[in-house]
């Protein structure tokens, strides 16, 4: 059983203790629109010559979240899904970790931090790693 990246092109997974994770997005050199994931075309300007790759994260604020009491295969409940608005402006769908999966455990607008965590296992039992977010101060990751 080994760790594998779920979305290698979207997330930088640290390979040393000094290395930090980040998401790979794009920013438009004309309008400043910043998005995740990386795009070659700006959806606001509708131009293909203005987007530059940029590192996003690790900080953002919690836009909204829901505690799921039922789950699809590979996602045992309860778990939290939500959206984080990165400091750079892009909106990211994410699972939330580092706190109990119960209602009212988080505040909208609270600061969140990117972490690399197991999302699910593949058919061979390997851990698929991806991005999650956790509250920055509320304690330890589960």
């Amino acid at each position: 059983m080994v760790d594998l990246a779920l979305n290698e092109d979207l997330l930088h997974i640290p390979d040393s203790p000094d290395d930090k994770p980040y998401l790979i997005g794009s920013r438009c050199s004309i309008c400043g629109y910043t998005c995740f994931p990386k795009k070659l075309v700006c959806v606001r300007c509708r131009r293909d010559d203005t987007m530059n790759e940029t590192k996003l994260g690790p900080y953002g604020t919690l836009e909204n979240y829901a505690v799921m009491q039922v789950g699809p295969p590979d996602f045992p409940p309860p778990y939290i899904m939500g959206y984080v608005r990165l400091k750079e402006g892009a909106l990211v769908f994410t699972l939330i970790t580092g706190c109990e999966a119960r209602d009212a455990v988080l505040d909208i607008g609270e600061e969140m931090e990117l972490v690399v965590k197991k999302i699910r296992e593949d058919r061979d039992g390997n851990n698929l790693l991806g991005w999650k977010f956790r509250p920055t101060e509320k304690g330890t990751a589960l």
């Binding site: 998005c35 606001r44 799921m68 009491q69 039922v70 789950g71 295969p73 769908f93 909208i108």
Partner: protein
């Protein structure tokens, strides 16, 4: 917004009952809905010149990924005409209607069939759920634990904080729609439920409980679309005009922007406003979603919605009856068929053929103007396809 170059109307609608039909194929569902619409219009089926076929998940649920419309409509008796396949998640049915209308407005045809059919029940529920999650960007959401219930729950949280909406309001909406569904012979769920029973059912994601949510469903719905100037020559039924049928994709600027823009376009194109609407079918895969759909459509203010629910404003006898069919959670939500089922309900209500759930319009006669709102899928935090249709008698 430009208008269509010809006046377009609906002359026939039909459905296959929504529900769980493990022993019936998509061919069966399609054939029944199509021929119910043909018999409803009372036209010679040979007059149909083209067809738009809406389906979302047949590839994943049955293996029929390619040429779905050609396969399923061949079984319904159609050969030698243009058949176009339409897919945009839960909005597919409305888009089939819209494409049929545009094809007629182009002058190419006078009579076109729009049909939506879906089969979500399999022996394997996990496979059904997996299939549903493909109505998102699977790389960014579907494969990461996204569920549509969570998306509805998040929207409701916001209104609960800012507009005083409560879980009791949501149960009242669900109970109202279950009652409406109990009067609809085509509905998946035909048992009325009390507010208490809904509140006491299993929690899915706060504030949503099991009986507020739509489940898997099989079913089909169909409409015969016709040029207005031709309708009276081929059909004795009262034609119901399509005043507008607007479509757009979601917008990155804000989760709610697209919803408002498509509604504004629909009102402007029809030359009508929210005050003219006398009956509405809105997209409530989770019944409480009805409340924020109405707000986005300008049919109520968010701060007043809770009070209006308490007063029964949206019931069959209320000031603005909404989801008289039962809505998605009670009528059922076989996703590719839903848009056309909304249209069928409006047509029945506006003709005065809705039986025990018939509502009255403003002047004690049947409703003159009806609105359907139908949306589908999720991309980057907002619905992928947004539609609003306004029908007029």
């Amino acid at each position: 917004m430009k208008r269509l170059a010809r006046e377009i109307c609906i002359i026939g609608v039909g459905m296959h009952k929504f529900g769980k039909f493990l022993d019936r194929s998509l061919k069966d569902l399609t054939r029944v809905a199509v021929w119910n619409a043909i018999h409803d219009a009372g036209i010679d089926a040979k007059l149909i010149e083209a067809a738009y076929f809406a389906n979302v998940l047949a590839g994943l649920t049955t293996g029929q990924e390619g040429i779905r419309g050609q396969v399923f409509l061949r079984d319904a008796g159609f050969e030698g005409i243009p058949i176009v396949n339409v897919e945009s998640a839960c909005a597919s049915g409305t888009i089939a209607l819209r494409e049929a209308a545009i094809a007629i407005a182009s002058g190419l045809y006078d009579v076109v069939l729009a049909v939506g059919a879906e089969k979500l029940y399999l022996d394997d529920t996990a496979r059904s759920i997996q299939a549903m999650s493909t109505n998102t960007d699977v790389e960014l959401m579907g494969g990461l634990g996204f569920q549509f219930t969570g998306s509805y729950a998040m929207s409701l949280h916001t209104y609960m904080k800012t507009c005083g909406w409560t879980q009791e309001h949501f149960a009242k909406v669900a109970s109202k729609n279950k009652y409406n569904g109990s009067l609809n012979p085509f509905a998946q769920y035909q048992r009325p439920m009390s507010v208490e029973e809904i509140l006491n059912s299993r929690l899915i994601s706060w504030p949503l409980t099991l009986y507020m949510c739509s489940t898997m469903a099989d079913g089909a719905a169909s409409a015969i679309v016709c040029a207005k100037e031709v309708a009276h020559k081929i059909c004795a039924k009262l034609p119901i005009s399509i005043s507008s049928c607007c479509l757009q994709s979601g917008e990155v600027t804000g989760i709610d922007d697209g919803q408002r823009h498509v509604a504004d376009n629909a009102y402007e194109t029809a030359g009508l406003g929210p005050k003219d609407i006398e009956v509405a079918e809105v997209h409530d895969a989770m019944a409480p979603g009805e409340m924020y759909r109405l707000e986005k459509l300008g049919l109520c203010k968010a701060e007043e919605a809770g009070k209006l629910v308490d007063e029964g404003c949206f019931t069959l006898n209320g000031r603005l009856p909404v989801n008289t069919s039962g809505g998605l959670a009670a009528r059922g939500h076989p996703i590719g068929a839903t848009g056309l089922a909304q249209i069928a309900e409006l047509v029945w209500q506006m003709r005065g053929e809705a039986g025990l759930r018939q509502v009255r319009g403003r002047n004690s006669s049947y409703p003159k103007v009806g609105l359907a709102q139908n949306s589908g899928g999720y991309v980057e935090g907002s619905p992928a396809a947004l539609t609003v249709t306004i029908l007029k008698r």
